[in-house]
């Protein structure tokens, strides 16, 4: 009851004061102030209307789509470009690459080894080349399983060392001698393989030069990169080196050829005979 009376009194008081308050002259902002504010509102109106005009940009509406697509492209690009990622994933994309590219890569991997040891002197390299040359002549052709099928090639190596030790008296003795010869030949072949592997690892400057030259030619398509990727082209180059009387270069190149084109040492190869002749010619010098 008292509360209601208080409220009524307060309402009456409020009404009275409000009436009195609104009878007075109320302050108003100056005309300059009005103009300044309205001018600001007018100048900002264009910006306001522009900001609210039309729909948001397409990329904003499809932000998720675009960001997802960009992420997929990025990841795929990284995956393709990074071989380590491919190895981790167990996929070899290079299998699908053309043979020519594979050859380039194998050549690159071959050139890495000599380059890493190129600080050795040329004389040492040359001496090592001469030392290993004789053993590496027919290293690939004299593999144990091939040695039985091709005794003629073994004879080229063993003729001088075994020739006077084998008496040619009868067939049984000859057969025995041949079997011993073959056994020794197999042993020599194993040694020659080891020596050839060693030779391949040796920093031979000439060999490096040849390999660099070949690599440059491979990397430069205008100079016919495919030619050096075939045994025929390599053989032609070897012949050219011999014709130019660049014997040392030819020797180094021959070793490289045998590493890269072992099929030249196969009797079935059409260039086999010509290559053997050149090899004998070079090794005899």
């Amino acid at each position: 009851m008292a509360q209601q009376q208080d409220d009524a009194e307060f309402t009456a008081l409020q009404t009275e004061i409000k009436q009195t308050y609104h009878q007075q002259t109320l302050e108003q902002p100056s005309a300059e102030l009005d103009e300044a504010i309205l001018a600001k509102a007018k100048s900002a109106r264009h910006a306001v209307a522009k900001n609210n005009k039309g729909e948001p940009a397409m990329w904003r509406r499809n932000a998720w789509l675009f960001s997802t697509a960009a992420s997929v492209v990025l990841v795929a690009g990284l995956f393709i470009l990074s071989p380590s990622l491919q190895q981790q994933a167990g996929i070899n994309l290079e299998k699908g690459l053309p043979k020519q590219q594979m050859d380039v890569q194998s050549l690159d991997s071959e050139t890495v080894m000599p380059l890493s040891t190129s600080d050795m002197s040329a004389d040492v390299a040359e001496a090592q080349l001469n030392e290993t040359q004789g053993m590496s002549i027919s290293a690939d052709s004299l593999k144990p399983e091939q040695a039985m099928a091709a005794p003629a090639s073994v004879e080229a190596l063993t003729d001088s060392s075994l020739g006077d030790k084998i008496p040619i008296q009868n067939r049984s003795q000859q057969a025995l001698a041949e079997s011993q010869q073959q056994a020794q030949a197999i042993k020599k072949v194993a040694d020659a393989e080891a020596a050839q592997r060693k030779a391949a690892a040796l920093p031979i400057r000439q060999q490096e030069k040849e390999l660099k030259l070949m690599k440059q030619q491979l990397e430069n398509p205008s100079k016919g990169t495919i030619e050096l990727d075939t045994a025929e082209a390599a053989f032609a180059r070897l012949q050219a080196l011999i014709a130019d009387n660049k014997i040392k270069q030819a020797e180094g190149y021959m070793i490289t050829m045998e590493q890269r084109f072992p099929e030249l040492l196969s009797p079935a190869h059409p260039l086999y005979e010509q290559y053997q002749k050149i090899k004998v010619q070079l090794t005899s010098q």
Partner: protein, 209 residues
């Protein structure tokens, strides 16, 4: 720090049930957002007086009051592009004003400690002195001047609540939302403000008689 806090307070209160009616302040603001400058002019005409007095009567430095008044409208204009009807326009407008007032005045000097306009008071009292033989019209003017003086003497929080109530007929709930105080505290402030003014006027009348 205070600015950051008050900027957060400036955020429009969430009231999704509010739908702007045709011709309402909110609709005018949306029209201005769409590029209609006449809508802003209408809005400005409607609110300029009360808002101006809100500052002028609380800050006795007229220049500062006008600056804050202009700042308030600038904030409204700048926020127009992002304006969404989440509360009554009046609540939003006076919340901006309230926060500006706190930022610029209370941090520097508590409003309660600000003395009322001495010159104006002197002028009022001179006028009152000259009116020794008051006629009814002059008596009314005298009362108005007394009221003005009494309002100026109110404590800051009461003055703010009183001005918002008497100028815009705002409810206690709206004022409590603007001033960020409880409803009960706001009701008390309004009640005390009116009672103080009545008492003040009575005292002044007694003094003059």
């Amino acid at each position: 720090m205070v600015s950051t806090l008050t900027q957060q307070k400036d955020a429009q209160p969430k009231d999704d049930n509010l739908v702007p009616q045709v011709g309402s302040d909110e609709q005018l603001m949306l029209n201005y957002q769409a590029g209609d400058i006449t809508a802003f002019e209408a809005l400005y005409r409607k609110h300029k007086g009360p808002l101006y007095r809100y500052f002028v009567r609380q800050i006795h430095d007229k220049q500062l009051a006008e600056d804050l008044y202009q700042d308030t409208w600038s904030k409204v204009i700048n926020a127009a592009a992002q304006y969404q009807v989440k509360a009554k326009f009046t609540t939003w407008l006076y919340k901006i004003a309230h926060n500006l007032l706190i930022d610029h005045v209370r941090v520097v000097k508590p409003l309660d400690n600000i003395n009322p306009l001495a010159d104006e008071q002197q002028m009022d009292s001179l006028e009152a002195d000259n009116l020794k033989a008051p006629e009814p019209q002059l008596q009314q003017q005298q009362q108005l001047n007394m009221m003005k003086s009494c309002i100026a003497d109110l404590p800051a929080v009461q003055k703010e609540a009183f001005l918002l109530n008497i100028e815009m007929s705002m409810s206690a709930a709206m004022i409590s939302d603007i001033a960020n105080v409880t409803l009960e505290a706001t009701k008390s402030r309004i009640r005390y403000a009116y009672q103080s003014i009545k008492q003040c006027i009575a005292n002044k009348l007694q003094e003059t008689s």
